[in-house]
Assembly symmetry: C2
Homo-oligomer: 284 residues x 2
């Protein structure tokens, strides 16, 4: 039950939190971390997120039965190319990337046939970065999406899903295509909108920002480089999501122009009722 | 120091919270509440938010030295017309309305010369409604905007501002015009955007909504009728805010179309840096 040697490639907020959770839950599992910078590895060792630190990804995966890619999506290809020759036969590789079509197809193309790949997207995290914000319970009660394809081994899928459940997550399966389409609506578009809301503010308005504004823009504080990678990788879906949002804003502007109080109330009531249903389901 | 007989017209979340705070802070002040429905008044009495309940606004303001309008903005005019003949000479009237141009001009037009009006917007609250969510500390550390005009009495302004400070608020003065312009950007537009984000979701995507989505849409759960009043009352400014937001989304869409990773990162970094500055200032 569970890996005996876990390799975490990228020991930031997510990788560090996985390490902390595994060290807490699986006492016999050795946790090896790879980081690009020595300071990051030292911080992960100091936080107790990993047992061993390695300066290259290839070294970090040697002998591991489970490997988790936790670096930004933009460098997945080069990491996969580097680890491909070093992976042990039977090793399982998964990831925490926020987009799935490109990740899954790259992994299936680059990795050798004697290892298995399973795409994962544990939907946890925050606008914070770095192992200093890592927490063993970051994943508890959150959703993890796995994205098996016809090339995914059933056994590897079962092992990866059991791993996320061990960390407290609810697992949902989607195709990589469905994942990227839906995530554009529930994650990438909200990030774009939060950034746009920050961008239009005049400096003299920000001192008036209340809790509502702070909640609705909190995600805009996230790392620009990480989100650029996500936006570029999922740009077809994100453009479609932006167009549909703009359609709603156009509609509201027309209703305001016509002073149509009744239609504005119907539009707001419908949104409020969906939001309250979400709250009832998810914030029990 | 402080009112001796406070009249709260509308004992919902805000009115109820004012009552609870005053009963805690000013033991000698009598708190009288008016509500449209008897059940609301009974709930306010049971919650300890008011000492006395009155079934008409005119009765509720008799003998009061401070009157606070806490009903939805849409019925301010009829309430002001009703209380105008009943107000004691020297009484001060203020409000908690989310828009200020129409409220201030209506009050200055309707109220008799022997009473003073001061426009206020205590920026506290939540997507919840009703006295059952009221709390004595709802206003603590929040911002209250007062909107004096050339017709506002300096003494009445000082008394109203001292009252909000007593409840723990930081007071900022703006003209009614400036208030409405800035609030469109930091409050009314974010609400419109949150509602639009809810509206475009397909049902199969909502189970994937993570904490970021829930934070960014929380305000959309607010009452449709209240927000319709605000949108209609401030529709010129809100339309302008929508247009500027759409300009940013158009820009992002063009950058995505051209796959311009560098410019997308700059856009995201600038937004993140403003959001982090806000956090450093306001979420200490």
């Amino acid at each position: 039950m569970g890996p005996t040697r876990l390799s975490i490639l990228g020991v930031g907020l997510l990788g560090g939190s996985i390490g902390l959770a595994v060290r807490h839950l699986l006492k016999d599992c050795a946790v090896v971390g790879y980081g690009h910078r020595r300071a990051t590895l030292d911080a992960a060792l100091a936080a107790g997120a990993i047992h061993e630190a390695k300066g290259t990804a290839a070294e970090a995966v040697r002998g591991a039965d489970l490997v988790i890619l936790c670096t930004p999506v933009g460098i997945f290809r080069s990491i996969l190319e580097e680890i491909a020759p070093a992976l042990a036969p039977g090793a399982i590789v998964t990831d925490v990337g926020s987009t799935k079509r490109s990740v899954v197809s790259t992994a299936e193309q680059v990795l050798p046939p004697h290892v298995s790949f399973v795409g994962s997207h544990p939907m946890a995290g925050s606008e914070q970065r770095g192992v200093e914000f890592a927490a063993a319970d970051l994943f508890r009660d959150a959703v993890c999406i796995t994205t098996p394809t016809e090339r995914t081994s059933d056994q590897a899928l079962a092992i990866v899903e059991a791993f996320w459940r061990l960390l407290g997550m609810q697992v949902i399966q989607l195709t990589p295509t469905e994942h990227d389409r839906r995530l554009a609506d529930v994650s990438h578009l909200p990030h774009a909108v939060a950034a746009a809301l920050m961008t239009i503010q005049e400096g003299d308005s920000l001192p008036l920002a209340g809790k509502g504004f702070r909640d609705s823009t909190r995600i805009a504080g996230g790392d620009g480089g990480l989100w650029r990678d996500i936006f570029i990788d999922n740009r077809d879906n994100l453009r479609d999501s932006i167009r549909r949002l703009r359609g709603q804003l156009d509609r509201l502007e027309t209703l305001l122009e016509h002073n149509d109080a009744e239609a504005i109330k119907l539009w707001l009531d419908a949104a409020a009722s969906r939001r309250r249903a979400l709250k009832a389901q998810r914030e029990k």
